[in-house]
Symmetry: C2
Subunit: 188 residues, 2 copies
Amino acid sequence: MHSIQSYIKEQIDTDFNINDELPFEISEVELPKNTIITHYHQVEKYAYFLQEGIAKISLIKENEERILEFFFPNTFFSSYTSFLTQKPSDVEIMLLTDCNLQRIYVDDINKAYQHSLLANQLGRIVTSHYYIQKTNREKDFLTKTATERYQDLIDNRAELIKEIPVNMLVKYLGIKPESLSRIRKEMM
Amino acid sequence: MHSIQSYIKEQIDTDFNINDELPFEISEVELPKNTIITHYHQVEKYAYFLQEGIAKISLIKENEERILEFFFPNTFFSSYTSFLTQKPSDVEIMLLTDCNLQRIYVDDINKAYQHSLLANQLGRIVTSHYYIQKTNREKDFLTKTATERYQDLIDNRAELIKEIPVNMLVKYLGIKPESLSRIRKEMM
């Protein structure tokens, strides 16, 4: 199963080994489908690593849910702006399936950041991934039509098309259900 | 004048002093107004620190320029996705005034990331700032009207209203010039 330890081994040019001690505490949790792990206006206290399962992060726009991202195994996720600033979250995180998670408490990682090379390498790389993901989404919304964005999902994110119900896909693409039906027909 | 050294001192909980040697090489450059320091499709080789001046980063949407961000002194900037991935940039960076810059070459910082705590702390913090900035922009576009976004600039980014010509502000807000005129009239 994926773990923070195996992620470090994959992502960082380091002599860290999977059984070595991490420079910060972690805890493991199993949580059922539909658990909201971070509520709107809650201050985010944890960075989560997804070992198994699927999660989504969303916000409310004009009383409607907009899905910002789906998360699959072997990724970190969090209400990350709230985690970094320790201000209330304007997003919500919900588990779409039963999930196995590892999590790191904000004070523990911040302590490790003061002295640990490895903790900082991890923080830097995870934040860079978040940044790239966010930037790609921004550029997609600025430069692509809904049809093109849907085609991109089919081409590049097959797991998303396969695992995520259509009513959630439309909230991620930022379109109406009838638009997705039309796009799908045009593609046939 | 602002410098990478003073930025580190301000932003990182460290015993680094302004006259200490940095764990990576930097060079200083003075460049005139209207210099394009990163072209579309060019691979970004530098992270820049703005000591004096103003820069903008933009992309092309349907043959029209969209401005993603303006940069003011005491900030890092770069075509950062290209810098991280070493793939061609889909944004352009132009200096709006004469600028004093410090810059770090990509291979130099990547070498420092292998062993230097301070380099990783800096990389992590700069990337976190980029991330927060990007996320705030995304949420603004998802949840606010053009009028609200313009009001936010007036309330929170006075330097932007003061220094940036109106024809660029509209490209940043993602609206038509006549819409901005209307918004301004409504606000009177």
